[in-house]
């Protein structure tokens, strides 16, 4: 019995300790908002693309790029982070013709955890 009670106590205690000692800034960084938004159909070509994340980024390891429907990179890289917040990645764009474009990103948090993603938008 003591083994099982010890296990339960340990699990409960561990959770409290974990909650108390955890580092709140570290976690997988996930997108919360982007411009243009995913799936958008735009009458006017955007001048920039940015993706904002829910945590701080390791800027040297994070990437953002924009490709046309042939997979050719069209943004004006290199990538630039919005350093005032360090939670977003941004690239400027040249005037884009009508077409479908794909935004690809890799976000690496300050803890080294990374996430990847992509979405498309269309310019009419």
């Amino acid at each position: 019995m003591s083994l099982r009670r010890s296990l339960a106590t340990t699990l409960a205690g561990a959770s409290l300790i974990l909650a108390a000692l955890s580092s709140p800034g570290a976690a997988h960084t996930l997108p919360v908002h982007s411009h243009p938004p995913a799936g958008a159909v735009l009458a006017e070509a955007p001048r920039e693309v940015w993706v904002r994340f829910d945590g701080h980024l390791e800027l040297a390891l994070s990437r953002l790029r924009v490709e046309d429907s042939d997979g050719k990179r069209v943004d004006l890289g290199p990538e630039e982070a919005q350093r005032s917040q360090a939670k977003a990645l941004r690239v400027a764009l040249p005037p884009l013709p009508a077409g479908t474009y794909r935004v690809r990103w890799k976000a690496v948090g300050t803890d080294g955890h990374g996430t990847v993603g992509d979405y498309s938008f269309r310019v009419r």
Binding site: L3, A8, L18, S22, L30, P37, A38
Partner: protein
């Protein structure tokens, strides 16, 4: 690696492109941007799979989960059913990025109809898992799982069996992110599944029980049957919809929700119950944050043998790799991903 511990025992076209072009584009995400630099709980590419309640999720991870449930369950007691409350916890730890172990315990309060309540711990559960497939391109993952229930480590009064049970199994998950653009609103869907065989180490166990009617101890022989434990989940990931398909103006907390339906089944193979199937269907919803996940589900019996009332399950699930990324939350043996 989280699970409701009672589950084991009870267990393209993209716009403008062809399929090949789409596959190439996904590959480009990985190759041109670089591979995911650190192992991530529940991720296969951009797909996140939440930890489900009655069906094992297929990931190896560092995590701690607590599950609470209440249901009226069929029982061999005189009344034919018991009100059962279960509180379980499980700690999972990565040994390497692909190999993990787990230990879990469960406290049970069972109140048979017309009888006194009994409380105690179920048998200790331990497990090991090897994640042999992770495809970022196809949002797919698969693992070999080996679980064991340590016989006679719990209270017999709440149904802990004297015999140990081992459960080798296969777990898998697949996201629908590679559907063609015309079906893009179906891309947030994902399925996971599990199949395993519960193998008691003893074909029979003999127990002695006090018979209050006669005042004597009676010896009982119980046949321990082999059981196929199988299940599946269907999920619709709203954060996936928001981030990768179509951003909508969903307010919090809806933008972090994943509705899920789980099917958890057990089919007896032999020793007096061959072919009998029991199980539950559990619709519910998960909310996933940066460090933890919450979830609640209704638990609906699939047939009379499985019960006749709806139960409830809830989970609090902590992502240890996010809470302690440089200490407890990383594999015991790991390679540095970057300077």
């Amino acid at each position: 690696m989280a699970r409701g511990t009672h589950s084991r025992t009870g267990l393209a076209r993209w716009a403008g492109g062809s399929f090949i072009a789409r596959v190439g584009c996904v590959a480009a995400t990985g190759l041109l941007l670089g591979a995911n630099p650190a192992g991530a709980h529940g991720f296969a590419g951009k797909r996140f799979f939440p930890s489900t309640l009655t069906v094992e999720d297929p990931f190896v991870a560092d995590e701690l989960s607590f599950v609470a449930g209440h249901r009226r369950e069929p029982s061999e007691d005189a009344g034919g059913f018991s009100h059962v409350t279960r509180l379980s916890g499980e700690l999972s730890k990565r040994i390497t990025r692909r190999l993990g172990i787990s230990v879990g315990g469960e406290w049970i309060s069972t109140h048979p109809a017309g009888d006194a309540a009994r409380r105690g711990f179920n048998n200790l559960e331990v497990g090991a898992r090897y994640q042999f497939l992770t495809s970022e391109l196809h949002e797919a993952v698969a693992s070999l799982d080996f679980g064991a229930e340590v016989g006679d480590s719990g209270d017999a009064g709440v149904g802990a069996e004297p015999s140990s049970v081992v459960v080798p199994g296969l777990l898998f998950g697949k996201g629908a992110g590679d559907l063609p653009d015309s079906l893009r609103f179906l891309r947030p869907f994902a399925v996971t599944g599990s199949v395993g065989v519960a193998l008691p180490l003893d074909a029979r166990t003999r127990t002695r029980a006090f018979d209050p009617m006669t005042g004597n101890f009676v010896s009982e022989v119980q046949r321990n049957s082999r059981t196929v434990e199988w299940g599946a989940t269907l999920q619709y990931n709203i954060p996936y919809l928001q981030s990768f398909v179509k951003e909508t103006a969903l307010p919090a907390p809806l933008d972090h929700m994943t509705p899920v339906v789980e099917l958890s089944m057990q089919t007896c193979l032999d020793r007096g119950c061959s072919g009998r199937t029991t199980g539950t269907v559990s619709p519910g919803v998960f909310w996933v944050g940066r460090h933890f996940q919450l979830g609640v589900e209704a638990q609906i019996p699939v047939n009379q043998r499985s019960g006749n009332q709806v139960g409830i399950l809830a989970i609090v699930h902590l992502f240890l790799d996010d809470l302690f990324p440089t200490t407890w939350g990383r594999p015991l043996f790991h390679q540095r991903s970057h300077p």
